[in-house]
Amino acid sequence: MGALREWHARRRRNIHVAVFVRSGRDGERSVVSAVETSFDAARPAGTPRQILLARGVTKGFPGVLALDNVDFDVRAGEVTALLGENGAGKSTLIKLMAGFYTPDRGEITVDGVALQADPASAHLIGVATIHQDAHLVPAMSVGENIMLGRWPGRYGWVSRKAQRERARAAVARVAPHLNISTPAGRLSPADQQLIEIARAISEDSKVLIMDEPTTSLSPPEIDRLFRVVDDLKANGLGIVFVSHWLEEVFAIADRVTVLRDGRLVGTEAIADLDHDKVIRMMVGREVREAEHKPRPIGDVVMRVSNLSRDGVLDDISFDVRAGEIVGMSGLVGAGRSELAACIFGIDPYDSGAVEVAGQPIRTNDPKAAIDAGIGLVPEDRRRQALVGLMSVRSNMTLGLFDQTTGYGFLSSQKEEEIAAREMKSLAVKAASSKVRVSTLSGGNQQKVVLGRWLARRPKVLILDEPTKGIDVGAKSEISDLIVRLAEGGMAILLISSELPEILSLSDRVLVMRSGRISAKLTRAEATSETIMSYATTG
């Protein structure tokens, strides 16, 4: 602990030290060794100092190359916006900078010191990350949260006085309206975020990474946050700002770095960019024009009218016709899954109505939605659709008791008939229908979920990210299946974050943004650019 204190003292005197930190099992950090380095390297006048530098960073996960040879830097007194579609690699880059992952190749340095793959050492070296939703201990006071894990004092006794003073100093800079003895859980999301920023300041951070900090904030709160960011900038912090909202990026950023499919598209000064150029950089790819055979479109099967849920969905109206695939696009957090949850009765809604074939459906009752003819393939199949301990067969026939029972008794013969039929038609790869569903691959698990709905022949099928986390082969099988179902007259609502999927399958595209439908596009109008534009602005 002595070494750590000394190191803090040196850092306050602006002597840069390379630290190698080990986290003990009890969470105590100990400095293993410290090497002094100097950073008065000559740099061209007028260019802000580079604080964080990532060179040739590559990071892969099983089956995906999340980042491929990416260069990125953060400069003192500047806000660098990090942009890209869902899955472009932003989160991976942030997690690398925050010390959660080690790069497979390349390195990240902060003031010349290599970053270790350890969140604690990232903090010590001066990188603080503010995650999308605040990570505070709700029952602890603002002051305690700011000093969390770094409680001043000795021998395990916390010095309340020192804690108060240091917390007060940090709070005064970013949120003077807050009282440090208020429990953190009673603060608004915006204030909780400010507390996280105060925590970063009290740690003498040099780089502040803000991962979509504005998602849960109201416009005045965003203004306040931006004033704080300007103040931090003036004090020489380097800030990384991740946001899906382009207006915000143009309001706050000095530079923009765009990632696409794990690769760096480019870094440009904000002055050289405009809205359309940024979107072109983000979308970039050539849109493969999959052949789209026109299908006969029938009558309206499902009609959603004026559906609202406080703080989540705002006046949603649309319909889906028999044989029609309606794509629903939008960014993560735009409210698409929440809309599916309301339609299917998982969550209640405040006003509006859902009708299937002209009949209104009771709210907050999945059974009523199913009986009315709606099916839902949810986004998180492990959590929301499958019982991992049960066999493929039991999962396939779960809730199909009207087809598999006589007088309340299950017929394993009927269950097997249904399971065998759907496994064959969907080409489920499994040793038998009796293996546990959790032993199957993601694609095959998804087919089990699909099979359950197909056995029921719903009028409307809602698919929420049906090909997420599924390998390429199974992906195209599922896409083909969706088309076949529509040809058979089923009405399909396809929620997907993958633009190619939306563009190649949909007859119409709805774009959601901030809980509202921001655009209803015909197949001809829907392009990557128009969808991305409506998803991020307007």
């Binding site: 019982v387 008791f401 009796k434």
Partner: protein, 355 residues
């Protein structure tokens, strides 16, 4: 889930090219659960028959089984609750309340014994309903909700009985205790019959399937159209009803409306159920294995008595056995699951290399 319809060849040891034991009606782990427990019981029995000349007598074995019936009947109900990832602490209180009502209504109120039994059973169902509603509608954690009804139930039993045992009992109870069917005590036959019904309900009916689904993944069950709240309420009602039946058995055994009996029985029941392989996380377990857990606990109690362990030490011994059995269970389960994971990964990479 009976043992006989799974052949040993189904449990292929790792490396034999097929997924281990996932083929029969019973999973590998379920089978090992039963086989493992059975082995421990047989081994323990063998050791006991060497150590104590009394142990292997028909009389003693019958005695062990007969005293296990009460825990077994209550444990059947508890199994339903634990399968939906709940817990029911009120079982012993429901049991004594049922016991004092079944005798007291005849003794104090002069009602017929049939009415007494009926009211006792309805009281059990009623407390189960309250537990279920508290857990589902008020969203009180099951541990707390049933802790409350446990305290209330015991209190009501004391108030009604005046804190003492009520005797004599109606003739019906004496006959029940003495009756034999094909030479086997009727209470044992009754217990086995209830266990068989419970097992059939769990494995062969849509309600049973809903129980496993609700415990295994409540959200997925709800999204598949299962009324999970209703399933949970019924599970608690079954537990209440079975506890009330346990109360009738204890009345017959003690020939009294026993207000002060069954102290700490809820913990013995939960221990037996968990030793019997029912997962406290829900969704996993079956009645057959669970009964072996009850039997093991009964055996330990019997051994402690026969070996003249000082009375103050017998609860220490029982506790150690529970801890050992549970630790062994956790160890075996993680060992098996690790093996299964390896197996699955191996199979997947094999499939991948073929493709």
């Amino acid at each position: 889930m009976t043992l006989e319809n799974t052949q040993m060849s189904d449990i292929a040891p790792a490396g034999h090219g097929k997924l281990p034991g996932l083929r029969g009606r019973i999973s590998f782990i379920d089978l090992m659960q039963s086989v493992g427990l059975l082995a421990v019981i047989l081994l323990g029995g063998a050791i006991m028959s060497v150590l104590s000349p009394v142990f292997a007598t028909m009389r003693n074995i019958e005695n062990v089984l007969q005293s296990a019936t009460i825990i077994a009947v209550v444990a059947i109900g508890q199994t339903f609750v634990i399968l939906v990832a709940g817990i029911d602490l009120s079982v012993a209180s429901v049991l004594v309340l049922s016991s004092v009502l079944s005798v007291g209504l005849v003794q104090f109120q002069g009602l017929s014994p049939e009415i007494g039994v009926l009211v006792a059973l309805l009281a059990g169902l009623g407390i189960g309903l309250v537990n279920g509603l508290a857990v589902t509608k008020l969203r009180i954690p099951a541990l707390i909700a049933t802790l409350a009804t446990m305290t209330i139930g015991r209190g009501l039993a004391y108030i009604y009985s005046g804190g003492t045992n009520i005797a004599p009992v109606p003739r019906f109870f004496v006959d029940l205790q003495a009756a034999r069917i094909l030479g086997i005590p009727a209470v044992i036959v009754l217990t086995l019959a209830l266990a068989l019904i419970a097992q059939i309900v769990l494995s062969r009916t849509s309600f049973g399937r809903s129980i496993y689904a609700t415990g295994g993944n409540p959200l997925a069950a709800r999204l598949a159209g299962i009324k999970t709240e209703r399933v949970i309420i019924i599970a608690f009602m079954i537990s209440g009803l079975m506890s009330a039946i346990g109360g009738l058995l204890i009345t017959a055994r003690f020939e009294a409306g026993a207000a002060t009996a069954a102290q700490g029985l809820e913990l013995a029941v939960i221990a037996a159920v968990v030793i019997g392989g029912v997962s406290l996380f829900g969704g996993e377990g079956n009645i057959g294995s669970m009964l072996l857990g009850v039997l093991l606990l009964g055996l330990v109690q019997n051994a402690v008595n026969l070996l003249n362990v000082p009375p103050n030490w017998d609860s220490v011994v029982s506790g150690l056995v529970i801890a050992a059995a549970a630790a062994l269970d956790v160890y075996r389960r993680s060992y098996l699951e690790a093996g299964m994971r390896k197996k699955v990964i191996a199979t997947k990479s094999k499939q991948a290399s073929k493709a």
